[in-house]
Each structure stands twice: as structure tokens, then as C-alpha cells.
């Protein structure tokens, strides 16, 4: 790279000296940098061609996996742990079908690397019920007929639980806005709003 590719020299920053310093080192692998004299401990890098050991805590259970670093939480759940409740709609953050809770927050598992989710508690649709009684939000989706094909439903339910706990289920308008990240191709939206309203008081009263 020469200076022509970035002609604008940022203020109070000497780009030339930065480049001079950076140019000396091998770009890759990172591990080569770690050998240099430095007082900072550099986290070790994994070899991209080899699987990496990862422990994912899902619904209260530890799962020890050997996975490619590219594996998302969604693929780890579905392909490696065998929990296929979380669905892959778009794989690009656009539909919400893959919604899970990480440390209680709703997130998209298709855009979360499994490696980044280590040491965090992941909750999926499979973790909601104790096997005897459905979670109030699951029950509400059945009572209100809040799905047709059901493909978006696990994501809707995980998202809806978080929506209620965040305090964003106070009106129909609120629910629509804060559930907009979950697309339903069957357009069961009015019934989804009704289900969220039904379950909200029970969830909030604990």
C-alpha cells in the first residue's frame, strides 16, 4: 500500500510514521507479532484451518464442541448441539427467526459467532418450558392462534419474552414497534400482538 491510496492525512497523527512502523511486521499470521518484544499479553490466535474447542452454555447445560471459527451460534445450536428450534430464515440479520437470549438479552444468533458467545448463558426456545407446563408466552401463542406455518414462531416467542421484560409491551403500537425485528411471512401479526398482550402480565408478575 502506498500513501496515494489514502491521501488524507488525519489531523494530529503522523500517518507516515505509522506506516513505517506497521510495514515492518508480517501481516499474517498474527502469532508472529506475539513473538515481538512487548509487555502486553496478546491473546493467542487459532489456526484458521483447524477446529477450535468451544464450550457453549445452552439452557443451563455446557456443550463442549470442536468447531470451525466461522460457526455462528445458530449453526452451533442446530448443526452441532442438535437444538433445531431456533430457525434460519435469512442468515443475515433481517428476519429474526434465529432470535435467542444471551444473558437474557434478545440477539440474533445468525450474526453472533459461537466463539464470541463463550462464557455466556444462551437460552433457546427449547429452554423455556420445564417439560410439564409451557412458558406463558408459548401458551399465549397457542391460545391466540399466533402462527400459521410456525417457522418464525420460536424467534417470535424468544423476542416477545424479551420485549415484555424490557417494558416495551405497554400498547399495541409499542408491541408492533418493538417486535418489528421478527418478520412473519404468514402475516400472523395481529394475533402475535394479542399473544404478547396475553402473556405480558403473567411474565411481569414473575
Amino acid at each position: 500500500m502506498d500513501d496515494k491510496t489514502n491521501p488524507q492525512s488525519p489531523s494530529s497523527f503522523n500517518r507516515r510514521s505509522f506506516l513505517a512502523g506497521a510495514a515492518g511486521g508480517a501481516m499474517f499470521p498474527l502469532a508472529a507479532r506475539a513473538a515481538g518484544p512487548t509487555t502486553t499479553t496478546i491473546p493467542s490466535t487459532q489456526d484458521p484451518t483447524l477446529p477450535v474447542p468451544v464450550t457453549l452454555r445452552v439452557n443451563g447445560h455446557d456443550n463442549s464442541l470442536n468447531i470451525d471459527a466461522r460457526t455462528t451460534v445458530l449453526d452451533a445450536l442446530r448443526e452441532h448441539i442438535g437444538l433445531t428450534g431456533s430457525k434460519k430464515g435469512c442468515d443475515h440479520g433481517q428476519c429474526g427467526a434465529c432470535t435467542v437470549l444471551i444473558e437474557g438479552r434478545r440477539v440474533l444468533s445468525c450474526l453472533t459467532l459461537a466463539l464470541s458467545a463463550q462464557d455466556h448463558e444462551i437460552t433457546t426456545i427449547e429452554g423455556l418450558s420445564n417439560g410439564v407446563r409451557l412458558h406463558p408466552m408459548q401458551q399465549a401463542f397457542i391460545d391466540q392462534d399466533a402462527f400459521q406455518c410456525g417457522y418464525c414462531t420460536p424467534g417470535q416467542i424468544m423476542s416477545a419474552i424479551a420485549c415484555v421484560k424490557e417494558g416495551h409491551a405497554n400498547s399495541d403500537e409499542d408491541i408492533r414497534e418493538y417486535m418489528s425485528g421478527n418478520i412473519c411471512r404468514c402475516a400472523a401479526y395481529p394475533n402475535i400482538v394479542a399473544a404478547v398482550k396475553q402473556a405480558a402480565p403473567e411474565i411481569l408478575s414473575g
Binding site: R33, P43, R106, E177
Partner: protein
């Protein structure tokens, strides 16, 4: 997705060190060899599309909470780069003192994405130009410098009308950046050479002849936070989109006003969804200052904001829409109760 080496940085020093070998590659936007990973909602998306091709990823999530703090001290707002969009949008002090900041975040993306995405990553999100995102199109000067621009005579309905060049007309898609540029925020940047602070307005670059150069960040530099001086309780963010929620702006306006007895003493106007980079409409601001606010002024200001706008075959409507958004946002800011 291509394979990459993953590492986690325990603290800022480790992150800077791990990023020290970063080079821009052939194209800093897509080929940078080492990329920091924050929320991952841009990075992983574009890696799956094979648009971004880092060979190594430095996960900077361990830097929050240290870099996620939000504080309002001596009338200045400091926002850590690792703060999540949802948390900042829900902060009551920000809602009260900087509604334009809270609303620009609240009306962006979805609840899940806002829980994941960081402020630092947000301002660096890439354009949603479909030709940029789809590598089966050869012609994209941003992704593939010198290859041409498929959008120029293609489907350019969502493309920019301000700040364009004959090389690229891609819209800068973010909302939060419009609040930052309107409020004259500064950005703290840290790298191997130390830390520096620049006006937010100097972070992004217009496409010009080099649309692949989007920012003035050097390879390996990290944004650590943003500072906004003064309070802006009379401020608003209005966003108009193809659907009411979970969509990028077709046109948006970030407005901040200081109004006394119906006269505008100070004014800030920034435009989203219509420009190639975060866009401050200084001419519009100058027109507002010292004037009594009324409908005629709002219309004049909206005209000025879009002076010099140029459309392609499918995005002409953005000029008319954008003007209405500016006028409506001004009304909203003037009439809001503070």
C-alpha cells in the same frame, strides 16, 4: 465465508497490539486483513456475502464495559464506543437532554440488532447499495476500485442525491451519525501511535474518485468514544422509510434548535438517507439563525438544504421527500415540549 483467525482482546492495549499489523490491503473497506469485531452485525453479514474478507478478527467485546460507559458531566455527553445502541436509546438522561440521539438509535434496525450493535460499529456500517453487497456484480468502484458503478444506471431508488460523484452514489445508511454530526460531536480514536480526537465531521469522506476510502481512520485504529458538548433538549430525529419500522431511511433529518420567544437562536440540521456520508446542511442552519420560525421559513430552509442535489433515474423523489422531511422535522422540534 472465508476462514479467519480469531482472537479476543482482553483490554484496549491488547486490542491495539493485536491490530498493530493491520494493513489496508488493496481496499481498506473490504480487504483489510485484520478487523475488529464489535456487535458483528455489519462485519459478519458482509463476510457471509464475501464482501468483507478479513483474514483475522480481533474480538473487542471484552473492552465493554470499560468502553461502554455513558456519562453526562458538566453538560457534556460522553458515549463509549462499545455502548450498545439499545442501552443508549433507553437512557432517560439522553432521552431528555438529547432526544435526537435517543431517537436516531431507537428508530434504527430492530430491537435484537440494537442489543448487539455498538456505537463505534454503527458509525462504520457499510452502505446497503445492493450492488456493493452482491459480488456477482463486477462493477462497483467501492468494492472493486476502477470497475465502474452498476448503480449509476441500474436500480438506484435508494441511492444518494447529495455528496455523490461520478464514481459512486451509494447512500450512507446510518441514523446515529446524523445526530452526531448535527451536534458537532467529536470522536476519540486510539491506535498504536496514541490517541487523537477529531470532529465527527472529519471521520467520513465523500466518495470523490476513491469511494473505497470511506473514513480517515488508519488501519488498526479504534474508535473509543464520542463527546457532545452542551445539551440539546429541543432536538428531534425524523425518519421516513418504505415501511414504518425496521428499515433504513429513505430520507431523515436530525434537527437541534435553540429557540427563544419564537426566534431561532441556534440551529443544527443534518440529513440522512439522501447523502453519501453523514451530511450537515450548514446553509440551512444559517438561514434559520436569528429568524422568527414560521411555515415560510421552514420551506425556505428545506429548499436550501437540498440545493445542489442531483438525482439519477429512480431517486428523484428523494429530493421532494427530503425537503418535506426537513420542514416537518423543524416543526416537530419547534413545537416539542421541553
Amino acid at each position: 465465508m472465508r476462514s479467519f483467525a480469531y482472537q479476543r482482546a482482553a483490554d484496549p492495549a491488547a486490542a491495539i497490539q493485536a491490530l498493530a499489523a493491520a494493513s489496508a490491503g488493496n481496499n481498506p473497506l473490504t480487504e483489510a486483513e485484520i478487523q475488529p469485531l464489535a456487535g458483528g452485525t455489519t462485519l459478519l453479514d458482509l463476510m457471509k456475502l464475501d464482501v468483507m474478507r478479513p483474514r483475522a478478527i480481533v474480538d473487542i467485546n471484552p473492552l465493554s464495559p470499560a468502553w461502554a460507559t455513558v456519562s453526562l458531566e458538566n453538560g457534556n455527553l460522553r458515549l463509549g464506543a462499545m455502548a450498545r445502541m439499545a442501552d443508549v436509546a433507553a437512557n432517560p438522561e439522553i432521552q431528555q437532554n438529547y432526544p435526537v440521539v435517543a431517537d436516531s438509535l431507537k428508530f434504527a434496525a430492530s430491537a435484537q440488532l440494537r442489543n448487539m450493535a455498538t456505537l463505534g460499529g454503527n458509525v462504520l456500517q457499510r452502505t446497503r447499495c445492493t450492488y456493493f453487497r452482491d459480488i456477482s456484480y463486477e462493477a462497483c468502484n467501492k468494492r472493486n476500485p476502477g470497475s465502474g458503478c452498476a448503480a449509476m444506471d441500474g436500480f438506484n431508488r435508494t441511492h444518494a442525491v447529495l455528496g455523490t460523484s461520478d464514481k459512486c452514489i451509494a447512500t450512507y445508511p446510518g441514523d446515529f451519525a446524523q445526530a452526531l454530526i448535527a451536534l458537532d460531536a467529536s470522536v476519540d480514536i486510539t491506535g498504536r501511535a496514541g490517541t487523537r480526537t477529531i470532529p465527527f465531521a472529519e471521520l467520513h469522506k465523500a466518495p470523490g474518485d476513491t469511494p473505497q476510502l470511506e473514513t480517515t481512520l488508519a488501519p488498526g485504529e479504534l474508535i473509543s468514544g464520542f463527546t457532545i458538548r452542551g445539551r440539546w433538549p429541543r432536538s428531534a430525529y425524523l425518519k421516513v422509510r418504505d415501511r414504518q419500522s425496521y428499515e433504513f431511511a429513505l430520507a431523515s433529518a436530525a434537527i437541534a434548535l435553540d429557540v427563544e420567544d419564537g426566534t431561532v437562536r441556534d440551529a443544527r440540521v443534518a440529513l440522512g438517507g439522501v447523502a453519501t456520508l453523514p451530511w450537515r446542511a450548514r446553509g440551512a442552519e444559517a438561514e434559520l439563525k436569528g429568524q422568527k420560525f414560521d411555515d415560510a421559513l421552514a420551506e425556505r430552509v428545506a429548499e436550501i438544504a437540498f440545493e445542489g442535489a442531483s438525482a439519477r433515474s429512480h431517486n428523484e423523489f428523494k429530493i421532494a421527500l427530503g425537503k418535506r422531511v426537513v420542514a416537518r422535522a423543524l416543526h416537530q422540534a419547534v413545537t416539542m415540549e421541553i
